[in-house]
Chain length 393, copies 2
């Protein structure tokens, strides 16, 4: 028997691609006493959580639940429940997570028609529409609304109309958007939408919110074969979330406490105010970074309010920059993924991390770090431009 | 914007089939500030957790990790990584979880040879050995060591020898045993073993510990097809737990804090003492229940120390009994599953819930409840018999 020192977690400011900072209220909820997964009080909390989640998704979809895993479990749940072996599906990619969705769909035995955008750009609608026209047999179109690897936002309005006109389902990854901007579930009739707890919703990682339209539920119910994943099989999971409370798996009870509290915070702030806050702080960040002479590789109209890719100036090493930000300032940012590896850092302003002070602090810390790395920037102008944007509304 | 009252979770004594009571130390660890899943401090915690988990599994297996989901995700991970479409596998069932494993294996596209025990009994070794002899093409034998639906313990000594002699892999469900009794991973060379965080390990539900022998890893590495689950694909997950820290999914960071703390507690107590404690308290419970004239449907030598099935006396309604225990005493026990539905309750003494006081309290509360339900029992003798067993060691 050896003795270990108690852990003391050094707090860091999480300004990367997620997890985002978690408020004390949410952490305290996480630490409430564990209840049984069929306990009456816990079941009441699930009901309330489901109601709050419908509000957050802006949907009246009956099947609105959390999957017991991280965001990628949401992606997998979305695919395995709707896709059967031999189906044709069209999946767009503007980055790593679209590519992951293609991989997941292939593992479900689907023939995947791949439509790609250049890294860092949105998917051209014409190309996607051509794929839809040439593959009328396709069961669904899968897309990433908020691509976490590039910070690109895909507008879904015209796409949703086209997909539904073609009689297909629209499957949407909203991991980095839900809670930080509109995810138009009912407005556009998005059929299968999943997200993650740890981005703009401000909960620790470990749960994947998921909602299905009644059309999608009908597709799940009329499957000819069993869902290949027992763990993520919605035909059973929906019976646990419904009145029946059919035992499936042991729900991650404490994570659901935290998720409930995080959704209460979203509800108290109000969706519109929360989106406006994410938008305002992102615009301040962008204005500040541009005033420093730095380049944002994604066109302004395609940028996510929650996550910004920042191109590194010539000669600035990505690993060293992130290390200095962490070691000197205890600020976490993300590295580039895919084609952006080594060339950008990813800066997230998500959930409770999206604040005016975090914008000012990040700009100051970045300027200090770049100066130490031999690349001085005009921090005064950066802060001034940012503050103008913050005062703007 | 509506206001909701803060939740106040009424504490319950969890003496059901899991989750088990979670100690304050573990709940406090859960609530530590969230870190990034690639953060240096978090990665150090993962390394320590892995070392502690190897001690708990009594293994030197390199591939010893937690899967980001509840116990059933462990079962699914065990199956999907090792099984390929068209494989033959032999899976034994002595209850609901063995049947679930058969279902999961079928969803992986395997031909499943089913060997069944009567509900509440162990699997007869001869029947299993015959299946092994008649199916030399089988890739693996899957078994439940600790069947949570019946409280039956399956001894694995002779089975492991036979399975390995036949050149097959042995896959074992240790959800309700790990931390409460021996799970002889290295001693018997068990090849794929999974468990759950929320039983004898005393952590909230949400993680599934998993360990693979080098033989099993070799089988995974030499697969001809991709693992059908992207989320549970060990060929990628092992690269995250190893030095490379390859990004796969966002780890459930706070759950891992709690799991680390729970394993520290296991380590401080020592495995042998912990098993002895589970054994001693279970025997006291059994002695007390029998002194009340109640029937334990599982033969003594086949009983799990962590979970006991108790047959209900004639005329005692299972739902009402459980409701009274909850409402009057805030004690949770489990209902019967499968063939035991409505006929038994399941009483768990797991993790920090396995205490002498909980035995005395449960016997007293049960006796009071049965008396109120018109079935008086001899509580004095029950407590006396239980205390004799508690003093025994």
């Amino acid at each position: 028997m050896e003795s270990r020192r108690p852990r003391r977690t050094r707090e860091k400011l999480l300004l990367g691609p997620g997890p985002s900072p978690v408020e004390g209220r949410v952490l305290r909820a996480l630490a409430e006493p564990t209840l049984g997964h069929l306990d009456g009080d816990f079941v009441a909390l699930m009901d309330e959580t489901q109601e709050l989640l419908r509000k957050t998704f802006q949907t009246s979809n009956a099947l609105t639940v959390t999957m017991p895993g991280t965001g990628s479990a949401g992606m997998e749940a979305a695919c395995v429940n709707v896709i059967e072996r031999g189906d044709t599906v069209i999946i767009g990619d503007q980055g790593v997570f679209g590519q992951r969705m293609q991989d997941v769909a292939e593992r479900c035995g689907a023939t995947v028609i791949k439509v790609s955008a250049p890294f860092g750009k949105t998917l051209p609608e014409e190309t996607l529409f051509e794929a839809i026209d040439s593959h009328p047999e396709a069961k669904l179109v899968g897309l990433v609304q908020a691509e976490t690897s590039t910070g690109v936002l895909q507008n879904l309005d015209a796409i949703a109309a086209k997909v539904h006109e073609a009689g297909m389902l629209l499957l949407v990854d909203a991991v980095t958007s839900l809670g930080g901007m509109e995810v138009p579930v009912d407005r556009l009739g998005l059929d299968i939408v999943y997200s993650g707890s740890q981005k703009c919703l401000g909960c620790p990682p470990g749960l994947a919110p998921l909602t299905l339209s009644s059309r999608a539920v009908e597709v799940v119910r009329s499957r000819k074969t069993k869902v290949q994943s027992w763990y993520l099989d919605l035909t059973m999971i929906m019976r646990y979330w419904e009145q029946e409370r059919f035992y499936h798996h042991t729900a991650p009870v404490n994570m659901l406490y935290a998720f409930n509290e995080a959704l209460r915070i979203v509800d108290e702030e109000g969706l519109e105010s929360r989106w406006a806050r994410h938008r305002r702080n992102a615009e301040a960040l962008w204005a500040g970074l541009e005033a420093m002479g730095l380049t944002l590789p994604v066109a302004k109209e395609d940028r996510l309010p929650s996550l910004t890719c920042l191109a590194l100036p010539e000669g600035i090493d990505d690993g060293r920059l992130r290390r200095e930000l962490m070691e000197r300032h205890a600020i976490e940012v993300g590295s580039g993924l895919g084609e952006f590896r080594g060339r950008v850092i990813r800066v997230g302003l998500m959930g409770s991390g999206s604040t005016a002070n975090n914008v000012l602090l990040f700009l100051s810390a970045l300027a200090a770090t770049l100066r130490r790395m031999g690349h001085p920037v005009d921090v005064a102008s950066a802060l001034e431009r940012a503050e103008e944007r913050l005062d703007g509304d």
